[in-house]
Symmetry: C2
Amino acid sequence: MSKKLTSAVLLVEGGRQDADLVYASGFSAPDPVVLLVHGRRKTLAVSLLEFGRAKEEARVSEVLTPQLLGLEGADRHRLSQWAVAVVKRARLRAVRVAAHFPVSIADQLRKAGIRIEVSTAPLFPGRRQKSPTEIKQIATTQRAAVAAMRAAMEWIQSAGVDRRGYLRQDGKRLTSERVRRLIEQRLLEADCAADETIVAGGSQGAEPHERGHGPLRSGQPIVIDIFPRHKQSGYCGDITRTIVHGQPVPEVARMLTAVKAAHGAALKAVRPGVAVKTVHTTAQETLLRHGFETTVKNGWGEGFIHSTGHGIGLEIHEAPSINLSSTRLLLGDVITIEPGLYYRRWGGVRIEDTVVVTRQGAKILARCPYP
Amino acid sequence: MSKKLTSAVLLVEGGRQDADLVYASGFSAPDPVVLLVHGRRKTLAVSLLEFGRAKEEARVSEVLTPQLLGLEGADRHRLSQWAVAVVKRARLRAVRVAAHFPVSIADQLRKAGIRIEVSTAPLFPGRRQKSPTEIKQIATTQRAAVAAMRAAMEWIQSAGVDRRGYLRQDGKRLTSERVRRLIEQRLLEADCAADETIVAGGSQGAEPHERGHGPLRSGQPIVIDIFPRHKQSGYCGDITRTIVHGQPVPEVARMLTAVKAAHGAALKAVRPGVAVKTVHTTAQETLLRHGFETTVKNGWGEGFIHSTGHGIGLEIHEAPSINLSSTRLLLGDVITIEPGLYYRRWGGVRIEDTVVVTRQGAKILARCPYP
């Protein structure tokens, strides 16, 4: 289509946290809200319950309630009618919405004669290149993640071993659950939240999103992936280390060497203007050169089965994805570099840092030793 | 419309937690998934990365990947094409979706000739009446919330007071932030997550969703609202108490008496078959009899400005809402009863318990003293 797209952006959130809403208005709420961004004008509609807080906290031109929008009776409780009223009040005939915009509200807007342009690109492209303030906020979260990672690594490495090879601390077996709790306590002390920390030992680590459970053993790889969100700023951090208590078996030692090499090579490939596929294929080829192939059989994948990284900011996963696309890295992109290898027989190995793209290349936001 | 609705339900989740998905499949993932529920048959499509974990954890008839769905090239990365492929594979011409279903995927399904029926009612009505297992899981979370509430109340009530009326503990001023951290540490020890605990003193409490910040004072009402989710089961709990260190001013004392009376009267009105509006108006009328009116001026509401409660389960807010609707309570509904009063001059007062609807009426899931 060559038709010029409308510049008016409409967000409707029914009680879930939305990074675009936080980015555009500085406001988030457990209750439904409607935000219309039209040029420099931002109109926020909230429930009566949120009016005072929105007036105080939201960076918008005006805050309205269903009553102030002139809605009556049951329409006051219909989020779709809030959206229709906000768009009509601005005399707009079309709005741009995100791909995840609710179909029920889109259909009601269409019924009211408003054209809906579903955006395949990010609604606010400015979200991608982080400002110095945003980089500081991500770095703050990342430092909390690194501190928690160091505590977890020290606890595992100083553990004793029983006759059956299980790790012990404080007279008890060391489990994924105990390590995760230590990590989450450290994060809480730094005002960060993380509900899904991964501490996955042995074959559990072969599933990249398995959180991990049960006793940990000496000699097996333990994948620790910490990705907290700061409770005040909302910005995320992300770090992964794979550690082995004692001696790894030769295959795991080779996996660790290969992933460390792929991680280093991918980091070196990062610079403004480079295509993300260059970074991804650098990691792929390094692993291949170390003899690690990727295979898929009957739905089961083994080897390097994910992308090399992802953008990070108000969302843990945001643009750009470091995969086979031709998208180019931009100055101020904050991304993760996290190659990994996964074999059901040996477990998982992943090494991840969060970096900002600078003129000099990738700058690691918070350093953490590679064990 | 008298047209018979299709019974096939389609869920598409792009990386957010979804209670319907957890309820229907026992599975959740940070990555996109498609679930089709067609009679007793459940088909789950996940990325290659999630295949192993989905095979292990999901209660479904089959797990597919984009490859197993026969998708090629870029279509393997298009969630809309996963959805189209899953629906076509089941030879369906219509599917029912939730109100928050993504418009981008709905439009692609329509383009592929599939009718979309947007459900205004819950997709899985069975989610409302909780099974004995679910009630136990909510009670487990609620007990953790009560333990954290007791610790917070004791800490506040045993605090010292400086010359300016500020509370002190451990040689420092007691702040909303310190109380919130104590609560969250207790929740973490019970394997519960809560990122939005409210500890709001004085006029901050007049905003029902203000988290609270800064030093707490003697004599002012402090609203503490704890609503954790259990990290294993996913089930939520919800409790609120309003406490005053020392003597409240007469207006706040009257508010406390009125809200306690409204809470008791609403609890007594709860039984299977009663309309939720009966419970809500019981609370409203009790507050009015105690002399507390609700007013709205220029968008600002004061008095009893929210509903009396909400259903709770895998979501913190789910059906039924205890408002002015004619919906009737059902055996096994788990709801909160939480009347409150909010005046910018005096602050907020709210008292909340989580109860299950039994033949004998409301049964409180975990008891906590009313200070």
